[in-house]
Amino acid sequence: MIDNQPMLSRVADSLYWMSRYLERAENTTRLLDVHMNLELDISSGLAEKQRNQRLITSLALPPASVDEDLLHTLTFDRNNPASIFALVAGARENARQVREQLSSEMWTQINKLYLHVRGTDADAVWQSSPHNYYLEIREGSHLFQGITDATMNHNQGWHFIQLGRYIERSTALLTLLDVHFKDAHLRYKDDITTDRYFELIETLKCVSAFEAYTKVYSPNVQPIWIVEFLLYNPEFPRSLRFCVDMIQTSLIALSETTGRTRHSRLYKIAGRIQSNLNYDEIGDINGLHDYLDNIKRQIFQIHDTLYDTYITYPIETAL
């Protein structure tokens, strides 16, 4: 018998947010890790206060959330919804709600990751080496993604997981680029001071892009090439172009399996971004902030339309 059961909207919603929370937790570890590392390297760069501010803005948090113990708070504070703890717990709680839809390997892994951040020795591990602590969480998240791809049916649910991951990843990238480059003049040749050099490398490391970047551009880092790489490179899995391609693929797959007719608007938006990223050139961008902001708005539209189509649709339209 062919099992062509529809999927409950609630289940789609939980899978989507499970994936988004986990991706956000992973992004946060990377930003915090880089931030700490930068403090060690830079002698006379940005003042600490500014750097904290920049971290906060890169995480899209309100400016008021700076406190004395910023890194500890963003790692462990159970009451702060942006902390790594809260994000992992949120991902796990969403997984728990739909546990029977996950493979048992997936559940085991996400539960393990949760037990790891909840563990009594987590704070001690972090105190002795924040880098190792963040690395373990990233590895846990990567393992979960690998297990998901290898053990779950690539059905509707899997596509909602994909959408959650890439929508989260693309919005986080857009915020990061905005914070790091909105004031930079994108010229082809800039004199780079040593401190600036470190900062640029750290920007790349915030999205694990340093190695991939050097393979394309050599280690000669220039802001304009970094932006070009992170926006337009079709092969790097954290570039915007890559994310949008994955989003579009999953949107098409979803509309094929569900046969919903109201999907057309969904891929029009995604397709529009896709072709912009395909044909735009970095030299043509006039005002990076507005350019990024415009794309971000469209990504938010994808999220909203996805919900309108599959999850929170008004019942009159669905009868």
Partner: protein, 485 residues
Amino acid sequence: MTTLRTLSSLLDQYIVKADCYDETFNHTNETRQHYQSLMERLAKFSASELAYRQQAADVTFLNQGITFTVYGDNEGTERTFPFDLLPRILTGKEWRQIESGLSQRLRALNLFLHDIYHDGLIFKDKVIPYELVASSKHYRREMRGVNIPHNIYVSICGTDLIRLPDGNFAVLEDNLRVPSGVSYMLANRQVTKHVFPRLFQNYGVRPIDQYAQALLSTLQSLAPHTDNPTIVLLTPGVYNSAYFEHTFLARQMGIQLVEGRDLLVHDGVVYMRTTDGLKRVDVIYRRIDDDFLDALTFRPDSQLGVNGLFNAYRRGNVVMANAVGTGIADDKAVYAYLPKIIKYYLDEDPILHNVETFLLEDAVQQQHVIQNIDKLVVKAVGEAGGYGMIIGPHSSKAEQEKFIELIKANPRNYIAQPTLSLSIAPCFVNNQIEARHIDLRPFILYGKTVTIVPGGLTRVALRKGSLVVNSSQGGGSKDTWVLYD
């Protein structure tokens, strides 16, 4: 005792009690015939071999996440249901009696439910007082005059049986609302097969794995409109103690596991919200109590149900199993009338007997109960799961005083029964085989016909001397084998 000891040194601590029925040994300490091969086989095991198998079984339960939630425990914990290695065995003859007795009882209960919500003939004929029924907290006025498909109110039932010292089975209580435990019956069988494969193979045990299929057929047979009904299992959600069972059954039957927020009612029709749009629901196997089904009809603070569900139900647009209002028939005071109910509707004598029950609204009976509370079991009529009860011989003076107050304040809410000696069976505890008290919950399905898979959940009071078998109160369970003749 000699026969016992020579069987195996593991049985050194096994004490045969004179005041209760022993499932395995007769009064002269000889092994009953249907337990013979099992005991012979056990005699060949050492304690460490059994312990190894016990561990293998425990790990299986843990890894598969076969757990239940304990309420009132701050840890909010999921626990595995303790599993005892040694199966409980019933002969074909014993089972036939149970089967016909349960079937008779369920037929009578369904006729009773239809009658009290329609013509009330049983009241007019003064077999049972109307006040007793109408005062039950499970009586649903809203069900008066509501017609349901095939007049089947209870399609899924789990009846608790105990074995009296004379070897006869008696009904302790009927669970007619949302009985649970069937997933443990099935899981126990799976695990036993893995742990004792050769023994199992040669024993002639009747299979039970067809339960999910039988349940699905039962639910399908209730659908009035369509040959290909959409059936869902409605769960209160992940925090419910039986959530594992809900996921297990939904998966076994290949139906959607839904929560109240997945369903909506539009124009008297129930739909579920899916990524493909709204899909009409025809049959709901609900694992939510009446009270929480529909905030517009029942408890207005319920977050678990579906607004308008009862209206759709009353219009016949959706079927629920079990029907609304079935709890009245497992009210423990109504239980006392069951022999009369069977006689009234079927004109038959009950095949399975009730346990003697005192109704406390009767002044004479109440007086007797208060004087003898240290010897009796007192239970709240509408509770289940071992909550709201006191066991006289195992209680303190203070607890007894408290219950006497409760009885005087609200006599309708309590019944009393003699403290019963549940039968005992061998269990593997503390690295040896000891006797523990057990009961039996078979699961009865009623669609086009009555179906009872041969077996049930045998619950074990794992604490030494304890008579309480409920999972929430430290009970465990074991596999139940019904043999071919």
